[in-house]
């Protein structure tokens, strides 16, 4: 199994979308939310996404970005100035 730590953020209107449910049911991924915040204008969560392969996890990421969410590696850029 492959695990990726991701930061997922979205505008408030996406909050109504059951994205975690869909990641599980439609993409067979296992999301584990470690920290999150939902406000009136925006929402974000720090998750660990577990799947069978890199490509498998990428399908879930593509689903999220397709909805308009921003997905980025949790730790930020490794490359520094």
């Amino acid at each position: 199994m492959i695990r990726k730590r991701l930061h997922v953020s979205m505008s408030a209107d996406l909050v109504k979308e059951p994205i975690l449910y869909r990641l599980v049911k439609e993409y067979d991924l296992s999301p584990n939310v470690r920290r999150a915040d939902v406000s009136a204008t925006e929402a974000w969560m720090a998750i660990e996404l577990q799947g069978g392969s890199e490509a498998h996890i990428q399908e879930g990421i593509d689903y999220l970005t397709g909805l308009g969410a921003t997905v980025k590696p949790l730790q930020g850029d490794v490359v520094e100035s």
């Binding site: 470690r34 590696p73 949790l74 930020g76 850029d77 490359v79 520094e80 100035s81």
Partner: protein, 420 residues
């Protein structure tokens, strides 16, 4: 005996042993060094610090080392210069420049790398590593050489030739990776999961970040143990501004300062300004940016400490400015012309941010403002390509020289001879 208590999650506060770990495995928050401040307050006194060596190690009581002799190129204790010429130009009476170009490899990174490599020795790593567009790589290669450690350095395949030479002279394992930042990020993460390397800005990040807080200690000490009203620093990964905040806070925690209310300001390039954008939108979310600026040392699209730099500015009443490439070049020229300091583009961004903040009346009359100039311009000369007046080429004849001087006098409307 060290004052290092361990590592602590910045988000949930969980405690961790001080090993090579940077992320809380519970909430995924970043870890930072935690100290026994009560004990440190008895040891880190103004008197003791004054007797210390003229570098970052004079603040050893608040650095995350456990007694090993540090890997030492004597970084820090850089000049704090009163910048009256630049101040007059910008309308800031009490302006100071913290000149980080005076560090051993000419950038602020020496502070961070010195601490991280010293900690790598304590944790018995044989190899240190990083991925960098220049300053960090240069500093790591130098400190690894000094420590007798092997270094593995990843750079973008299109890194600047001047930077490559400055890294390569120390003979690290230098790897130029094809593809963009995302590819290098992924490769480094995979490498780190397989090799027992001290990746100074990843698994040793809690220690690496600590080095930068010594800027705050020095500024306060060089101002006669007072906190300035404002500090302006560039934001790339966000670690410097975040660390300056921690440093200012720790000075009150150990009672060297009774209080401090320093406003922290950041400078980013418009072509890569994810933190400035979040500040402007009053958001906590840092949306990744695709860098498009000549300021390579500010080209971090997904800054690891971006949210903490954002909070440092917001919580202290500071601001984050985004400045154009033209403003950055103009800032570099102004700093050189007015104060004799040749900065990298990040320094030009800070000068441009000072101008923006002064115009917005962010500084009250008489307030003390410190601008952090993070690195030297010799490392990024290509940024100035075609932007400076070329030299006048003449034959070695007095008549040609006189003709040129006459032109110069006319152009500058200077009566009589020009002093050369």
């Amino acid at each position: 005996m060290s004052n290092l208590a361990g590592l602590k999650c910045k988000e949930c506060g969980r405690a961790f042993d001080p090993g090579a770990v940077s992320v809380c495995d519970y909430c995924f928050g970043p870890l930072e060094a935690d100290y026994n401040y009560q004990r440190a307050s008895k040891l880190a006194t103004r008197k003791k610090i004054k007797k210390g060596s003229p570098d970052i190690w004079r603040y050893m009581e608040l650095l995350p080392l456990e007694g090993t002799r540090p890997v030492d190129l004597s970084p820090g204790f850089t000049p704090l210069l009163k910048a009256d010429n630049l101040g007059a130009r910008l309308g800031i009476k009490n302006l100071y420049i913290k000149d980080e170009t005076a560090n051993p490899t000419h950038s602020v990174k020496d502070r961070m790398v010195a601490v991280a490599v010293s900690r790598a020795v304590e944790l018995r790593f044989g190899v240190v590593a990083c991925a960098s567009t220049g300053n960090l790589a240069h500093s790591l290669a130098a400190h690894a050489a000094r420590a007798g450690l092997k270094s593995v350095i990843f750079v973008p395949h299109d890194a600047e030739p001047a930077q490559l030479a400055a890294i390569n002279i120390y003979e690290p394992a230098l790897i130029a990776v094809k593809g963009g930042t995302q590819r290098i990020n992924a490769l480094c993460n995979e490498a780190m999961s397989r090799e027992r390397w001290a990746f100074v800005n990843i698994n040793l990040r809690p220690y690496y970040a600590e080095g930068a807080k010594t800027i705050a200690f020095e500024i306060a000490e060089q101002l006669g143990w007072t906190a300035p009203d404002h500090i302006v620093a560039p934001i790339a990964s966000g670690s410097t501004l975040t660390a300056i905040r921690k440093g200012m806070t720790e000075l009150t925690a150990v009672e060297i300062l009774k209080s401090q209310e320093t406003k922290l300001h950041g400078a980013q390039a418009e072509g890569c300004a994810p933190v400035a954008a979040a500040f402007r939108k009053k958001s906590e979310l840092i949306q990744p940016a695709t860098p498009a600026t000549l300021a390579k040392s500010l080209s971090i699209g997904n800054p690891a400490d971006g949210v903490y730099a954002l909070r440092a500015a917001r919580d202290t009443g500071g601001a984050i400015a985004a400045v154009s490439d033209n403003e950055i070049i103009e800032g570099m020229k102004t700093l050189a012309r007015e104060e004799g300091i040749f900065a990298e583009p990040a320094g030009g961004a800070v000068v441009a941010a000072l101008k923006q903040l002064a115009s917005a009346r962010s500084f009250k009359a008489g307030e003390t403002v410190v601008a952090v100039i993070s690195g030297g311009g010799l490392k990024a000369p290509e940024a100035l390509s075609g932007r400076l007046k070329p030299p006048r080429v003449i034959e070695p004849k007095l008549s040609e020289l006189e003709s040129f001087l006459a032109q110069l006098r006319r152009a500058e409307n200077v009566p009589g001879a020009v002093d050369m």
